[in-house]
Subunit: 357 residues, 5 copies
């Protein structure tokens, strides 16, 4: 079952700001790549140590350093030292259960987003996993930290490589926007998958509800809670950025942020719609189950109420009394048959009138 | 089943502002009509190219350009170029899954509304489809974009053609208001249809609830979600316009906008009422189904409890023991009949006392 | 069934401000009465034409013109012309589906209230109908428009006729207050009737729930929605008047308005309480129905489980095997009876232990 | 059944401010007591006429006049005349269905509270009755009005009689606070009784749910509505007093008011908790009832499904065909018994596997 | 059963500020420990009387006095006297049913938190107990009061003992923060335990729902109410501190408080998620129970509907009519068997088609 929150108990009691990785344990190597670009040139490199990125830090061009893997404290700590980041910020990068949030440290900003994906898109079941994406935005540089290697930022890289793209002429704030835009775009495709899955689930609900459907409904609700917890706070983060107090976001980028906020509102809207749909599912399930039971009961009732009186009649003439005149009538047997058919027919007609048949 | 949101995944990863049509695929020709009018004169034309409308752009009279069809990027792009519209605005016009919203670009405003209609008004089932209506309001011109050709604006055109109508004396802002008023008027007739449908559905619910009713209830809820998503944000849009910050709406038009806002509040009120009604339907459905089951159970109980003891008595006297004195009584058979009738009667009286009969 | 909202579709597409009557069609004559009073004198007249009221318009005394019937546009239009009322205000008077609201036009104010009444107070069922009351308050005059002739304002008239009543010394604003006070007083008596009806319904619910009760619960909910839609917005209207921006309401009247607002809060309080009560009714209904079913099931279970084994025993000794020693025991028949009684008793004791009996 | 609101209809149509008693009819004599105290001295007297209290009105010491009974208009009116109270204030004192509220008349304040009590604390059932307590606070005097004679204020009187109590050194505002504190303290003990009752009810719910339990749940919900209507508005009243706009409450008393507000928040907290508990009761009830039905059904199923096939077998060998070879086998009878036992055992094993037994 | 609120009735009627212990009665000795530290030195002592702590009060180093046990009024009163604390503050310390809150007395602040713990962590059932932690923060000292001896603050003590820890260089406000941080850290581990328990409960719900599960669901809801009442107000307390009006919290500590607030938001988030999960449990329970009943009904229906007609047939040929030609057919017996098998098979096929088998 999907975990709804990170285990944090092992961290309880530690000094605030202690660098301990909280999240999926990992031994994968940490990959650091740097992209340095201006209107005229692009440079791409993979680094082997944090120190190699120092020359880029103060270049006039935009520098994007992406780190895949946050489980090695010494690397996170080195970035903190070289870029002057607060201990609590570094703690949040390594502690991967954060809610989306923004923190303004004056000369740099800290943004946390949650990327959502279906771990196995090929199977019928819809599941959601989430990964923390941390963004540190400086005057001319952007640091991004992902929990594991992924290809989600590739379209941004492709746009940077194009000589005449808008991104090449804009600053680091636009890059941060473009990265957030990628994460939000992912939400749409995820929610579409969710919507499709819900429609299938609803059909099952109406046509063949089983005990397993009940578990699926519950899992769906859980997945949605997961999604909401990633989506709602991000909307607030964007609305906070739009209020214009974040000085690192320049005016030309703000109009794009507003567009992103607009997308985010639509994401929230869709999530709430899905929530309303799942919310009613359990009731529909119960109605559906109750309907089937009703049908079963009807058959039982019809068979039993038709045959119980008939069996009684047969029982009567199976009695062994010395004097039972009917038994000796020459057509008695056939009369009884006629009586039984009559009783049965009356019953069936009654049921039809009652619309149970 | 009605789609609750537009597919957007194919767009994921594109540059923000890219002109890609999102929505129902269409190959219909795009029809552009222009209406240019002042207090004295009206001119109506159908254009074959965007460039033909340029002369009207800067005329002192009010110009209304209506575009039916948003699936051809080059046309939308041409309007953007000639009227100085922002790339993100053009993207929103083509991307037809927008929520109602307003954006103020200083010298022009962008308004998105959603038109609602029942695709097949003649059938018994109530369904809702929605179409995006984009309005760009400039100082003396109004651009409107519809997804497909429709006749919803004909009453406005008729009023413009009348020589002494109020609309002829007012500016472009009043025209924008009149167009929005048309869209909102449509909501009323749609909601009336919805209300009528609900009453029929409620009767079915109480009188003959079936498995199909369950699906109808679900569809109704979905349709209402659809409606709410078009209606609620529009109320906010109007309230925002009324706050008077939108300079393009002049004072004489504001009193009409307030009236429109008033209508909108009533629409929202009706939608919420419908929502409250549909919200309780599933419970009524279950109560109704449960009632019927109860009735079925009662019949079964009565028949079974009356005949089971009687059959037992008959069974007794069907036994083959050597010594069963009752069998040899001369009126034994009739005594047994009397006993059975007595038992049956006691049962029936008991049921009547219990009010099950 | 009560209509939850006015049909407005016939009006769709008309020019805003068009005077078309929306509401219950009526051919009753429109009755216009005028009451002109000051501290010293009272004059009462019934008018045959709107023009007759012109002399009163600018008199220094307070003038109250009451119009019963809003279905004749020419009359409404004449008032509009003579008192300088806005076209949209007149439209709202004739269009009788308005929500309670207040609109300030500077030298006059427009107030809409909804009067609620039970159309047939003598029958057992509680129903609610509502009628629009429009009040236009000028500096020294008050216009009131009712949908049909009614006696709701008679107590106000009686107070005006008394030589030394407070109302005679106060201005037109106090008259408007007194009229609103009448409408609100009516709510209390209506809600009391509602409360009494609910108690009866609840008893039925617990003691004898039928399919008809289900429909009654639904009707009650509908009636309450009706009431809420009249009551809630009126509270907001009063709170708006109290904020003191409405210059036509003078200070001495404001303390009475505050008292009225207080009443209104109590009305809302009662309505919400009734709502909470009705909200739980369907659940109680289902519990009650489910309880009865349970009882029915118990009887079936007891009868069936007692007699089915006994019938089986009787069946055994009804078999025709050649060798069945028990059949030839001299007291076999009585032994079987003893066995049957024993089995039956064990069953009954078991049921009693299980507390089903 | 507890009345959820006062009958007010008899009052409808009266002049605002008319002194008509609304509430429980009473013929008890109205008792007026006065307590006049300062740091040095205390004087206690019972008055026979309102006029006797006039000398105390303007004394520099604190004067507390308590009136038990509000059903005699002439007494209330006399107080109004002598202390300069507004007609609407007097109306509210006599009209005992008020919500808790505060009204500031500049030189005096009007406070309404609702005292809650269980009319019969000795019985098992929890019921709530409420009584209106009106407090008028002047610069150096406090008037309190209760609906009937009660001992709720005795602890306050006892504290006043003590020579060195804090209350003797403080002003009339502290006295008003102390009186309110008494009323709120009562809430705690009432809610504890409520909590205890709920626990007993919950046990009944889980262990032996009957139709009567259903009525008890409904009564509990009603009682809670009663409590909420007394408690919630009082919280708002206190929060309003704390905002410091009420000039009659001096600074040294404000810190005590803040403490009282704190208590009130806890009362509200407890009420909401109780509400949440009662809210779920009906669902637990239905689950519990449904569980029992399930058990009943299981027994029926087991007995019926075991014996129906056996009875069928017995029926087979009760047939009278000429040629039935089994009947003539020498051990046929015993074979049939063996078959029956086998069938019965298989059934029972099946039920055990299914965990129904 | 867990008590949802403290008994306060014994206190009703007392003077406000009276020192009476409300809570779990205790006779344990009250333990007072003091820790006095600066950047250079740490001193730890256990005190035998309150007076011994006076020298530390005005030292320039940070002094932390921890009191385990609040049931002895004379001790609390002594602290109040020596540190100049308000009577109402002392009352709140002894009265252990407080909601989390903050009160600013200018030169000292009063903070109330609730510590949550599972009284018996080893058993399967999840239970929550809470204890009040009172913190008084002065310029250079911190007083903490716990209801009973506990080890929750040991990690803070350990950090103080370390020569180079951050806490040694910070003031009393940071100490207060560190203590609150401990309490909040505890919440995380508690909620994890809660989450684990919920998953187990949900499995039980789906796989084997019994009457006991019902009680467990109710207990879980109660436990969650308990948790919410400790957690929600604390969030508000922190948000109030962050607004910067509390002058005792200096700027360097504020960034840590913001981090704590962030944790608190996550705690609230988790609590609400758990609440949503428990909220749906009763519905899942009922669905699950209803599913099982359905299964039981199906077996009954199948057995009964198959055998009832067969038994009827057997009954027919058990009748004793003189003329029953079938009885004398040579293969009559076998024909009947064939008929019975045919009827039974048709039934079974019907059930399979209906998907009941």
């Amino acid at each position: 079952m999907r975990k709804l929150f990170q285990r944090e108990s092992e961290k309880a009691g530690l000094v605030p700001g202690a660098l301990v990785h909280v999240g999926e344990a990992s031994t994968a190597p940490v990959r650091i790549t740097v992209m340095d670009y201006g209107a005229e040139r692009v440079e791409e490199r993979e680094l082997t140590s944090v120190e190699e990125c120092l020359p880029y830090r103060s270049s006039s061009t935009v520098t994007w350093i992406n780190v895949d893997g946050v489980h090695r404290p010494e690397i996170v700590e080195a970035f903190g030292r070289h870029f002057g980041l607060h201990a609590l910020l570094l703690e949040d990068i390594m502690h991967t259960g954060q809610r989306p949030k923004v923190e303004d440290f004056g000369d740099h900003m800290f943004l946390v987003l949650r990327m959502l994906y279906d771990p196995d898109e090929t199977d019928a079941v819809f599941e959601v996993e989430s990964e923390q994406v941390s963004i540190v935005l400086g005057p001319s540089w952007v640091l991004t930290f992902q929990e594991s290697e992924g290809d989600i930022f590739d379209p941004v890289r492709a746009r940077i490589r194009q000589a005449r793209g808008r991104i090449r002429k804009m600053g680091a704030d636009y890059l941060a926007y473009a990265i957030m835009d990628m994460v939000v775009d992912k939400y749409f495709s995820l929610l579409e998958g969710f919507g499709d899955y819900l429609e299938i689930l609803e059909e099952t609900l109406l046509e063949n509800p089983t005990q397993a459907t009940l578990a699926e409904i519950r899992d769906t609700k859980r997945a949605l809670i997961h999604v909401r917890r990633a989506v709602w706070p991000l909307r607030d983060v964007l609305s906070m950025l739009l209020r214009g107090e974040a000085k690192l976001f320049k005016k030309p980028t703000l109009v794009f942020l507003r567009d992103l906020y607009d997308h985010m509102i639509r994401v929230v809207d869709v999530v709430e719609t899905l929530r309303e749909l799942t919310g009613g599912m359990l009731d529909i399930y119960m109605s559906s189950v109750s309907n089937r039971m009703n049908e079963v009961m009807k058959v039982l009732t019809i068979v039993a109420t038709v045959f119980i009186p008939l069996t009684f009649i047969a029982g009567i003439y199976g009695m062994n009394f010395d004097t039972m005149p009917e038994l000796h009538w020459s057509h008695g047997y056939w009369y009884v048959w006629a009586l039984m058919l009559a009783v049965g027919l009356v019953m069936l007609v009654y049921f039809r009138v009652k619309k149970w048949l």
